[in-house]
Amino acid sequence: MKLHEYQSKGLFARYGIPIPKGQVATTATEVRTIAKELGGWVVVKSQVLVGGRGKAGGIRLAKSPQEAEELAAQILSMEIKGLPVRKVLVDEAANIKSEIYLGITNDRAARKPVIMASAAGGIDIEEVARTSPEKIVKVHVDPLLGLKEYQARDIALGIEMPRELWRTFTQITFGLWRAYLECDATLAEINPLVITEDNRLVALDGKMVLDDNALFRHPDLAELRDLDAEVPSEIEARKYGLSFIKLDGNIGCMVNGAGLAMTTMDIIKLFGGEPANFLDIGGGAGSDKVAAALRIILTDPNVKAVLFNIFGGITRCDEVARGILTALAEVKPVVPMVIRLVGTNAEEGRQLLAQANMITAETLADAARKAVAAVSQATGGFPA
């Protein structure tokens, strides 16, 4: 789950990281008031969950409350990469001497958190990593020991931080480490961390991504989720614990298991069709979950056929069959449906569905071919 800049910086402040004075606003008049309180020179920053806000004109410097109001009015009427700007952060402007990157993320390959820092801050760190990786200092943290003070100093040395700022920098690094740890973040990033003309360190911009699997430990953080950045059907799916991703094709897919769900998409494409979604009903899905999944698939008007591919393991095919029957009674779909049931309790499942008027398939390839054929028939021979 991605957090907005203002949410991330709010968390940083809790962990003792210095952030600019600022406030969030939803209207241009509010922005004027805030700018006045902050002394006039402010930065108006759109709060949307995509990168490249600056390039899109979503971050602007204002020299007076009047200008701040005007710029805010523009920004609040913008869409950035398809997302409407509903909030702006108004921060006091800083006099910047230099910009640093400081971030913590999970290094999959090393199986450890890694702290990355660079004196080339303020720009896209992935770009720096590609073009000049030598400019990035990396320190891995032992997850059982936690961050050690010498490691923070090593980072300061590595990015040639002026000596008089080491102490503050170490405090900031530890603050960011605690934010990463205590919020179960997969990314906690300050970019840029600036050294101001008067030699202070300030986190001008921040970003946090939280581990969805750990949100049960953080009900307060779970509430920060911005539903604007998500597709409605994906929000609905999450309520039922379904893993659903909407795609652009016309063959709806209901599969158990993520690997098999991806494979089902791949094979539909291989046989000339286009999947309408990724959907993993998960292990051990009960009939209510299956019914919800089918309703979600069928709300997509593009869907011209549905392919069920269930390989029972922890999921029992009879439970899935019951869910399908429940949903069919309720939704009464008109599109053709192809079903393949194999594995745990498959025979019971097949018997339950014998009267349901579905196209049955034995193999995955057979199921995909039949679904593609059903769509092509439904669309008069014009697939997709």
């Binding site: 999970n106 999959r108 390959a109 199986r111 450890k112 958190p113 992935e126 032992d142 997850p143 059982l144 740890l181 179960d184 997969t186 581990d211 699997n213 750990a214 049960f216 430990r217 893993s243 991703i245 795609l247 599969v255 158990n256 298991g257 993520a258 690997g259 098999l260 769900a261 991806m262 494979t263 998409m265 791949d266 094979i267 494409k269 291989l270 999947p275 990724f278 993993d280 998960g282 292990g283 051990g284 390989f311 029972g312 393991g313 922890i314 999921t315 194999v342 594995g343 745990t344 193999t363 995955l364 390839a365």
Partner: protein, 285 residues
């Protein structure tokens, strides 16, 4: 022969009294696995399926029954704790089926187990199956027959698909290992390739990967250098949109890394035949 689990496996089930734990204990027993104990804190003294004793702690259960392998069905929020408990009780092989364990928990677990020299399979995995000998986890027992093909996979049901396709053409399996779909797990591809390489009864290997991370690329490097047996592969997620987590916590293309195309290229370069879809695998073996 086989790897990791066999007829000498003495299995302890953590979370044995839960819905899934109980259902799959039944299935494992029906398959012929020696399930010697179960653990559910607070339910010690009860019995499951008539003759499997339930204990309050893994340590007590291991002392009483000589269990040498644990399988955990414990819910995600308590799963890391269940792995520590099994490791501290001296169990050398722990299989964790549970999906949804926080990734920071898994980083701590993995680093702890490495220090103790304990092997973990999973989490977020279907477990292991040695046809004719033992099943530890949730792989349906009737979809594979004994044979000489080793299978290792990041996926669950996709693995069943492959086992089933092999069975349909009469090809059997030495051991199937589901290593799980999480970004941080225990046993990885290379560990399994090493074991299959050393197992005299494994003649060929099927490696099933998916998008996310670079473990398939590393496996390809290992295969090119050390593998003495032919390897056939399938990689899921060729049509997955970038930046989206495809169900498995670890299945995501990030910053241009983890693409199916790159994995297929690396495997091909290492002499591995990569199937266009899972049912094509048997014909490539």
């Amino acid at each position: 022969m086989s790897i990791l689990v066999n007829k000498n496996t003495r299995l302890l089930v953590q979370g044995i009294t839960g819905n899934e734990g109980l259902f799959h204990t039944q299935q494992m027993v029906a398959f012929g696995t020696h399930v010697v104990a179960g653990v559910t804190p607070g339910k010690g003294g009860e019995w499951v399926l008539g003759n499997i004793p339930v204990f309050d702690s893994v340590k007590v259960a291991v002392n009483a029954t000589g269990a040498n392998t644990c399988v955990s069905f414990v819910p995600a929020r308590f799963a890391a704790d269940s792995i520590y408990e099994a490791a501290d009780a001296g169990v050398p092989l722990i299989v964790c089926i549970t999906e949804g364990i926080p990734v920071q928990d898994m980083m701590r677990v993995r680093n702890y187990l490495d220090q103790k020299g304990v092997r973990l399979v999973g989490p977020n995995c279907p477990g292991l199956l040695t046809p004719g000998e033992a099943k530890v986890g949730i792989i349906p027992g009737n979809i594979a027959i004994p044979g000489n093909i080793g299978v290792v996979s990041r996926s669950g049901t996709l693995t069943y698909e492959v086992l089933y396709a092999l069975k349909m053409v009469g090809k059997g399996v030495s051991t199937c290992v589901g290593i799980g779909g999480d970004p941080i797990n225990g046993t990885n591809f290379i560990d399994c390739l090493e074991m299959f390489n050393a197992d005299p009864d494994t003649e060929k290997v099927v490696l099933i990967g998916e998008i996310g991370g670079t473990d398939e690329e590393k496996a390809a490097e290992y295969i090119a250098k050390y593998m003495k047996k032919p390897v056939v592969s399938f990689i899921a997620g060729q049509t997955a949109p970038p930046g989206k987590r495809m169900g498995h916590a670890g299945a995501i293309v990030e910053g241009g890394s983890g693409l199916a195309a790159d994995k297929i290229k690396a495997l091909n370069a290492a002499g591995v035949s990569v199937a266009a879809h899972p049912e094509e695998i048997p014909s490539l073996l």
